[in-house]
């Protein structure tokens, strides 16, 4: 469990974080989302003390990080940067295993661990172990970055906009990979992004931030259903502005077509094709686990999430094309 307790960060006359309280549960995939300047990265870096708060405390399992020996603390917290940030003078295997060198792992054990993780992230160790970072694509480098962060079986992994520099296809693959690793390993992940769609896709819970102030914290469905204020609503709607009607979801091929006997489907609510994704989220929030009828289609909660994620992929593709 990670607790931010009345955390404030100010530089000269600007306040980057204002009296922020937040609790992240163990084993969660927790997303900090907000536009640039919202303080989300500042907050993330307080966990491994790359940033020290001006006032307030950061507690891991009840213990103030300020009291921990710095390198020892960091050796048990994985960290993934935007570009992978692999050391160009070391091979993939050396990069991936450097934390294990620090912790004094035996070479054979280290080698086994690194090769196992490389396989898990989809990099064939026989092919990739000896490569240098300059010989990797952006996606491959970031996979190695994830292995490096996870190698020492850390308590948690911090990810600072890890996929923002990737092309849409690699990004989608890595999002799936992180979700899968999180599920398999059960490690706590704190994930920073400025992309609401990515946040919705990845998060068990998320915190929306703006100008150093926490706006709302909750599950994606909760936030979608009941945005705490106009900023959250706007931030969310803006992201899906041109495709928020349920007809768009159905047209995109999500959901299950109900054939003939419509009564046989256990649906708790019925919405029209001109209702919005916000209405749909509200329905899911009110009746968790159920499906919603829209015309001749039944939509489940996963369909909504998958649809929003597909928008992200498309939009990023367009951005990349520009």
């Amino acid at each position: 469990m990670i607790q931010f307790d009345h955390v404030t960060q100010s530089y000269d006359d600007t306040v980057a974080l204002r009296d922020l309280n937040l609790t992240i549960e163990s084993h969660e995939l927790f997303v900090l989302v907000g536009p640039s300047g919202s303080g989300k990265t500042t907050l993330l870096k307080m966990v491994n003390r790359l940033n020290e708060p001006t006032s307030g405390r950061v507690l891991i399992d009840g213990e103030d990080v300020a009291g921990r020996e710095l390198n020892e603390l960091r050796q048990h917290i994985g960290y993934v940067l935007q570009t992978g940030a692999l050391f160009p003078n070391m091979s993939v295997e050396q990069n991936a295993g450097i934390e294990l060198d620090v912790l004094g792992w035996k070479p054979e054990k280290k080698r086994k661990r690194v090769r196992d993780l490389l396989s898990r992230v989809g990099l064939n160790p026989d092919k990739f172990a000896e490569r240098m970072p300059s010989e990797l694509s952006g996606g491959e480098a970031q996979r190695v970055g994830i292995v490096r962060a996870m190698a020492a079986e850390p308590l948690m992994v911090l990810m600072d906009e890890p996929f923002s520099a990737l092309d849409p296809v690699s990004r989608k693959q890595l999002q799936d990979l992180v979700l899968q690793l999180h599920e398999e390993l059960g490690v706590t992940v704190i994930f920073v992004t400025h992309d609401m769609s990515e946040a919705m896709l990845m998060a068990d819970r998320l915190a929306v931030m703006r100008k150093g102030v926490l706006q709302q914290c909750g599950t994606p469905a909760e936030i979608m259903a009941k945005p705490a204020n106009d900023f959250v609503r706007g931030f969310f709607l803006d992201r899906a502005a041109d495709s928020r009607y349920l007809s768009n979801i159905v047209d995109a091929g999500f959901g299950e077509r109900i054939s003939g006997d419509t009564e046989s489907v256990a649906s708790s609510a019925q919405l029209s094709a001109s209702d919005t994704v916000v209405d749909l989220a509200a329905a899911f929030h009110a009746h968790p686990g159920s499906s919603v009828r829209v015309g001749h289609h039944a939509l489940k909660q996963e369909d909504l999430i998958a649809y929003l994620a597909s928008i992200a992929v498309e939009r990023n593709g367009e951005e990349a094309a520009k």
């Binding site: 491994n48 960091r74 935007q82 940030a85 620090v102």
Partner: protein, 517 residues
């Protein structure tokens, strides 16, 4: 030319190798000291930007001082020889090494630095596994620049008695010996290229292998260095060593070889260490004053014009007598009084100016003296060294004293004037009385019957305390007093600088022929 070079190398190869070794030694020592200072400094200051910038400014400022000026500034503090040469080289080389290492260390991608911090790498591991390897290309290029510069600049060590390949370059320039010049220049250039290539190759090795390689190289060089110095100590044994230096050129080298033979013959317990081509007048005189050397041959005229001072402390204003005996007495008295030095009796020959004509003309017109030439100078064309042409104690004064009236008078590059005279391009020129070209081109020097030119007679110069402590040395050197005629000296200079015989051999020949050893 090639043949001449080959002969020169085959006759001097052991000395050349020794100079090459000296050069290498000075360069390696300077490089090691530079690295030991500059690299840790760069590491220490990489997180202290302001201090780093200040050091960078200071290093850059030092670099702008001409190397000769640095050598000059250092002499009063550390004397002459290898030490000031190494200090000057280090001062120069710190800048490129520090700048490149500092820049390399401070311009590492901040994301990589952050990654290293976030991984919790201990300081030492961060430095040796991340920061130094990432800065290594920059560091190595700085070291390469420094080493090439050190090897090139180390040629200047010869100016202050540091030895090395510069000795041959200076010797080549001073004695117009192209073979020596080429040997010095080509070897130092080759050494620089070789070192540069070696460093380029080393820079491709991983850090660990590089460290092992450098340590191994250092151990080998240190071993060799200790070996040679032990060997030289063993060879020297318990004997007393007298250090004798000479100015640039063949003539001083012949003289100091004679000194060596005379002293070692007189007292077998004394070893004489020679430092030929040691430098210019003021440099040798300073070295003598500071006790770095014990003896060197100096000219009476030079003592009076450049060393002793008038009552107001200025040099160059003391009146120089045209009588050789008076000039010697004035010089010896001045040296004794002002510097507490002992100036032994001079040799016979005078190395001064004289007018030279072709020997055939001398026979044809029966020319013996400058007065004889004045009678028929209207039919002679002359060319002079530009300095000689302008100085009042040169041609203008001479012309007045003898009433010379040449049909034409030009100035000419000194190195060309003898050949021009031999080729009938001109009929008379100025000459030094012991120049070997006089013999080489079969010229006739005309006597200065009116004693217009000040006398330049050579004699051993030493401190008074050295003289009284070493009566046997004084006695041995005094055997040369009044010996060696102008023609003798000309012949010996001819053998050394034109025929490239060894100065030691030529000196030995003279001494045994005249029964002095």
């Amino acid at each position: 030319m090639i043949g001449q070079l080959g002969t020169y190398i085959s006759e001097n190869w052991s000395d050349i190798l020794l100079a090459l070794w000296d050069h290498l030694k000075i360069s390696v020592i300077a490089t090691v000291i530079t690295l030991v200072i500059a690299l840790p400094l760069a590491v220490a200051l990489m997180n202290r930007r302001r201090a780093g910038e200040i050091v960078l400014q200071i290093a850059s400022a030092i670099q702008t001082i001409p190397s000769l000026a640095i050598l000059g500034i250092l002499i009063p503090f550390v004397g002459i020889g290898t030490v000031p040469a190494v200090i000057a080289l280090v001062l120069y080389a710190i800048m490129p090494v520090f700048q490149n290492a500092y820049t390399g260390l401070t311009t590492i991608d901040p994301e990589l630095t952050e990654a290293a911090e976030a991984l919790g790498l201990p300081r030492r591991m961060k430095l040796f596994r991340v920061q130094i390897p990432l800065a290594m290309p920059m560091m190595m290029s700085g070291i390469r620049i420094a080493v090439v510069m050190i090897i090139g600049t180390a040629t200047l060590a010869a100016l202050i008695g540091g030895g090395g390949l510069g000795t041959y370059i200076l010797l080549g320039i001073q004695t117009n010996n192209d073979a020596a010049l080429i040997v010095g220049a080509v070897l130092s250039a080759a050494l620089a290229l070789l070192a540069s290539g070696l460093i380029k190759w080393l820079s491709k090795l991983p850090l660990k292998k590089l460290g092992i390689g450098v340590v191994a190289l250092a151990v080998i060089l240190a071993g060799l260095g200790i070996g040679t110095s032990v060997a030289s100590h063993v060879a020297t044994g318990q004997k007393e060593t007298v250090v004798i230096a000479g100015k640039m050129g063949g003539e001083p080298e012949i003289l100091i070889n004679m000194y060596k033979d005379l002293i070692e013959t007189a007292d077998p317990n004394v070893t004489v260490e020679l430092k030929p081509n040691f430098g210019g007048t003021s440099f040798l005189f300073k070295a003598l004053k500071s006790g770095k050397i014990d003896v060197y041959p100096e000219f009476t005229g030079t003592v009076l014009q450049s060393l002793v001072t008038d009552s107001s402390g200025k040099t160059g204003t003391v009146k120089v007598s045209h009588d050789p005996e008076t000039a010697y007495k004035d010089a010896a008295a001045g040296l004794k009084q002002q510097f507490d030095m002992k100036y032994l009796r001079p040799m016979k020959y005078e190395n001064t100016y004289a007018l030279a004509v072709r020997a055939s003309d001398a026979r044809k017109y029966d020319l013996e003296t400058t007065e004889d030439l004045a009678q028929i100078s209207q039919s002679f064309s002359a060319a002079f060294d530009p300095d000689f042409y302008q100085q009042s104690d040169g041609y203008p004064g001479l012309q007045k004293a003898y009433g010379l009236q040449f049909s034409s008078v030009r100035t000419m590059e000194p190195s060309l004037r003898y050949e021009a005279l031999a080729d009938n391009k001109i009929d008379a020129t100025d000459a030094y009385t012991t120049d070997p070209q006089v013999k080489q081109y079969n010229l006739k020097l005309l006597k200065d019957t009116k004693s217009f030119f000040p006398p330049y007679q050579g004699a051993p110069l030493m401190s008074a305390s050295f003289a009284s402590a070493h009566p046997e040395v004084v006695a041995a050197l005094n055997k040369l007093a009044g010996k060696i005629s102008d023609e003798d000296m000309q012949t010996m200079n001819y053998r050394v600088t034109v025929q490239h015989e060894k100065a030691a051999t030529v000196a030995q020949d003279y001494l045994s022929k005249h029964g002095l050893v």
